[in-house]
């Protein structure tokens, strides 16, 4: 059995699965249930400043989109930070950490953008002897209107400033949680690093409206006829999260900065993908909110089995393994030529590849008598759409043309690696050395 134990910026946990700061980690009762189930750690739901707690709406906090069989594909929420008194949270945090010393306990924080507020909350949190803090610069709804959450995360200078305060007034490891509601995720990550962050975590949720009620013409989730954008999460956001994690992992400015990956991880495979792109731990929320804490058994057993199959003995061997293969478009090999191949034995003659190619792509699939579908190599640009729309796995695959073969579409031989930077059509091309 592969060893799943993790050491993330000095915070140890028996496995890399942490519950993200969110409703599942709002109180002792839930967190103890999570630890009993086997979760490696939690990020306690965001604490605010001392004083009257925030209030939440009393109508729906969540909206969702589903597949036909009600599989939850995306979730959105307008819940704010914890609405329980600060002292109650702190007492519970201290007790849980004492009772579960082998688990990672990180506390998420969000207070106004002044040094005193941060100094004060850090002191209170430090007394609980938790493993670290996560700065919530990501929450996109409600709190952002009050100058916190993503309102901070969207301004790199603020991120740097607050992070610096935190490092100055606390010895605890500091994770900066980033909002994806920005044009370039690298900038806030760079700012966090400059401020002295030990790690970043991402993504927080994405601004979203899940649907519109076409009778009342109100967005969902709806509160008394009105709706405000919520934060989108769940399986639907995973591709966005993977890209943002990879962007930070491969950015020379932030290379080596530990990352806690978040965003739609639902199975061990999702988690392994985050890790391969550089995440040292993976935070989970929607999957737990959909299926309960019991999924941890699949998450740990699945990752362990995969690592055994790959011969990895430690999660460190997986973390970042795919990062070198993430590159810019301009460096992709333009002499890599593939052609779609349809396996006639697997083909069920539905014709979706034909409709997709004929109507929306390159007219590179022929429909022959008897509903036989064949690729026309002279037209196929290898776009992969036929592969993507084919309902039968592995029925359509991409065959790589060997070097020296002639591409019937261009009439040219497949040559050595060459990319856009040296391509004759590129006005900025540099002569090949």
């Amino acid at each position: 059995m592969a060893d799943l134990s993790t050491n993330f910026i000095g915070i140890k946990s028996p496995n890399p699965y942490w519950l993200a700061s969110a409703p599942p980690t709002d109180k002792e009762y839930n967190v103890v249930r999570a630890f009993k189930a086997g979760w490696g750690g939690v990020v306690w739901k965001t604490l605010g400043a001392e004083g009257p707690p925030v209030v939440n709406v009393n109508g729906p906090r969540y909206g969702a989109i589903w597949g036909a069989d009600r599989r939850l594909l995306g979730l959105n929420n307008i819940e704010l930070i914890t609405d329980r008194p600060l002292q109650v949270n702190l007492q519970e945090i201290k007790r849980v950490k004492r009772d579960w010393p082998d688990r990672a306990m990180v506390v998420s924080l969000m207070v106004p953008c002044d040094e005193e507020s941060w100094k004060s909350i850090l002191k209170a949190v430090e007394e609980t002897e938790v493993d670290g803090v996560e700065l919530n610069f990501g929450c996109p709804h409600g709190m952002s209107e009050r100058g916190m959450g993503s309102a901070v995360g969207q301004v790199p200078e603020y991120i740097e400033m607050v992070t610096r305060w935190v490092k100055q007034h606390s010895r605890m490891p500091c994770i900066v949680k980033l909002t994806p509601n920005v044009t370039d995720i690298r900038k806030p990550a760079e700012a966090a690093k400059r401020g002295g962050a030990d790690a970043v975590s991402l993504i927080n949720t994405i601004n979203s409206i899940t649907s519109v009620n076409l009778d009342t013409f109100s967005p969902e989730p709806m509160i008394d006829g009105k709706g405000a954008h919520g934060g989108y999460c769940g399986p639907a956001v995973k591709p966005i999260a993977l890209n943002m994690v990879a962007e930070i992992a491969r950015n020379p400015e932030t290379a080596g900065l530990p990352i806690s990956g978040i965003g739609g991880a639902t199975t061990w495979r999702d988690a392994a993908e985050f890790m391969a792109l550089g995440a040292g731990t993976v935070q989970v929320c929607t999957a737990a909110m959909t299926y309960g804490f019991g999924i941890i058994k699949e998450l740990t057993a699945g990752l362990s089995l995969y690592m055994d199959q790959k011969g990895f003995t430690s999660v460190d061997e997986l973390v970042g393994r795919a990062v070198p293969n993430v590159t810019d478009w301009q460096y992709l090999n333009l002499n890599y030529v593939t052609k779609a191949r349809i396996d006639q034995d697997l083909c069920i003659q539905c014709g979706r590849c034909f409709a997709a190619c004929e109507d929306t792509s390159h007219q590179a699939i022929a429909m022959k008598p008897g509903r036989v579908f064949e690729v026309i190599d002279a037209e196929c640009v290898a776009c992969n759409l036929c592969v993507n729309v084919c309902p039968v796995e592995d029925c359509i695959t991409m065959e790589t043309l060997p070097k020296g073969a002639v591409d019937p579409r261009t009439g040219e031989e497949v040559r050595e690696y060459a990319n856009w930077t040296t391509h004759p059509n590129n006005p900025m091309a540099k002569a090949a050395e």
């Binding site: 069920i348 003659q349 014709g351 979706r352 509903r371």
Partner: protein
């Protein structure tokens, strides 16, 4: 004495009313919204979909399923009714495994087709439950058309003609309209009065007058209709039944299966309907299955279906035969009746095993007897007299592909005309004949 399935003779009340009600309830209840969405999600929206080609009425199946996916079963129903105005009954009685579902690419790939029939029923039931009739008549043309027979062919023809603005009079020999949908289909396939509800719904287009109790060759004649109307459509079905040609056929207890099925469908109280303890059904088609299964459901202890050829030659679909077997019907193949024994009433029926000889089916020489206090003949129906002036082909009214008979101004369709004896084929023929009648009257 209590009557049970083990009581000898032809007796009513073998089962209590609650059991009978359960036995004859809707065999495949309608999908609920969620079931329909899940089933609809399996459709691949094939290009030039094979299911459409396999449907005799060429319903745009991927389109209507997509409309269900998109949450508008009423729009889906409109897509269905545009091609097949009896889409509700067809959803229940079509042998879909031989038609749309048999052609479904998922049937070929996984042996598990998209459940097109049940989705069609979900759509059509939803629209009909909403009490809407989504068709309106065109401007009146002043033309009058006689439709003979209120079965699927006649109804489909009448609706399409009414939609085109013509006035239609339907002449029906029986007491009620619907044809085999009303009289010739197993009750559990047409539960809750669907056949009449569908006719009532269809008639709401307006412009159609129904006259019952009038049959061709008796109260009305083709010649008279031709004189009184601008065109005539014959959808008279097959009124006769084939004989067994085995001695003893006249004995009490031996009767056509279609009669029994019609009687059962019209029965007000199934507990009052008599059925034998030992029932033998002769034939291998849908009628044989419907008679056999319903005999069992009425409480017959032993029901045997006997067919002279192999199972693969049976007209009943595999699905129907599996249903019969599950219901407890014993299916015997390669046997033909040679004598019916009994003193006045049937007591036993004697069969000879058959094999394929050089000149056709021949007895092997081995025979066996089955106990029988009731025998249902289901070996095919015949045209009950060819109206004067019409030509026959293969025992039916000869027509061209569009339904024109040898007499100008007279069209025919449904079971009485050449073609497969399926409800859905009858609907297609009635509809296409209506289009041709319209074209010829407005040319």
């Amino acid at each position: 004495m209590t009557i049970t399935p083990q009581t000898d003779g032809i007796r009513s009340g073998r089962l209590d009313r609650a059991t009978l009600a359960e036995n004859f309830d809707d065999f495949y209840p309608c999908f609920d919204d969620h079931e329909a969405r899940v089933a609809a999600d399996r459709c691949y929206f094939c290009y030039d979909a094979p299911c459409i080609t396999a449907c005799p009425t060429a319903i745009d199946i991927p389109l209507f399923i997509r409309q269900i996916q998109a949450g508008q079963p009423e729009a889906a129903a409109k897509t269905i009714f545009d091609q097949n105005i009896l889409g509700g009954m067809c959803a229940r009685v079509c042998p879909t495994e031989n038609l749309c579902e048999g052609a479904c690419v998922r049937e070929i790939a996984e042996g598990q087709p998209v459940e097109i029939g049940r989705l069609q029923r979900y759509a059509t039931d939803t629209l009909m439950a909403g009490n809407a009739h989504p068709y309106a008549r065109a401007e009146p043309t002043g033309k009058r058309i006689a439709v003979v027979g209120a079965g699927p062919a006649g109804l489909a023809c009448a609706h399409r003609l009414a939609m085109k603005g013509h006035d239609v009079v339907i002449f029906e020999a029986r007491e009620k309209p619907g044809g085999l949908n009303e009289y010739g289909i197993a009750a559990y396939k047409a539960a809750n009065g669907i056949a009449q509800a569908e006719v009532d719904w269809l008639m709401r287009i307006g412009g159609i007058t129904l006259q019952t109790g009038l049959s061709l060759g008796r109260e009305i004649t083709l010649e008279r209709l031709r004189g009184d109307f601008d065109a005539v459509f014959l959808g008279i079905g097959l009124g006769g039944v084939n004989a067994l040609s085995a001695p003893g056929e006249e004995k009490a207890g031996v009767r056509p299966a279609v009669e029994f099925i019609a009687e059962l469908r019209q029965a007000e109280d199934l507990a009052a309907l008599p059925i034998g303890r030992h029932v033998v059904v002769i034939g291998g088609g849908m009628t044989a299955v419907d008679a056999a299964v319903q005999s069992k459901l009425l409480g017959a202890e032993h029901v045997t279906m006997v067919y002279r050829r192999g199972r693969e030659a049976m007209a009943a679909s595999d699905h129907e035969l599996d249903h019969a077997a599950t219901a407890g019907v014993k299916i015997v193949t390669h046997a033909m009746p040679v004598a019916i024994h009994g003193n006045g009433a049937v007591r036993e029926i004697e069969f000879a095993y058959t094999r394929q000889g050089e000149t056709g089916l021949e007895p092997t020489g081995e025979t066996f007897r089955l106990k029988a206090d009731q025998v249902f003949k289901a070996i095919g129906q015949t045209l009950d007299g060819l109206p004067d002036g019409l030509e026959a082909a293969r025992g039916k009214i000869a027509t061209d592909v569009i339904g024109r008979t040898a007499i100008p101004g007279v069209w025919a369709g449904g079971d009485c005309a050449v073609g497969e004896d399926l409800t859905v084929v009858a609907v297609a023929q009635g509809r296409d004949a209506a289009e041709d009648i319209h074209a010829s009257l407005t040319a």
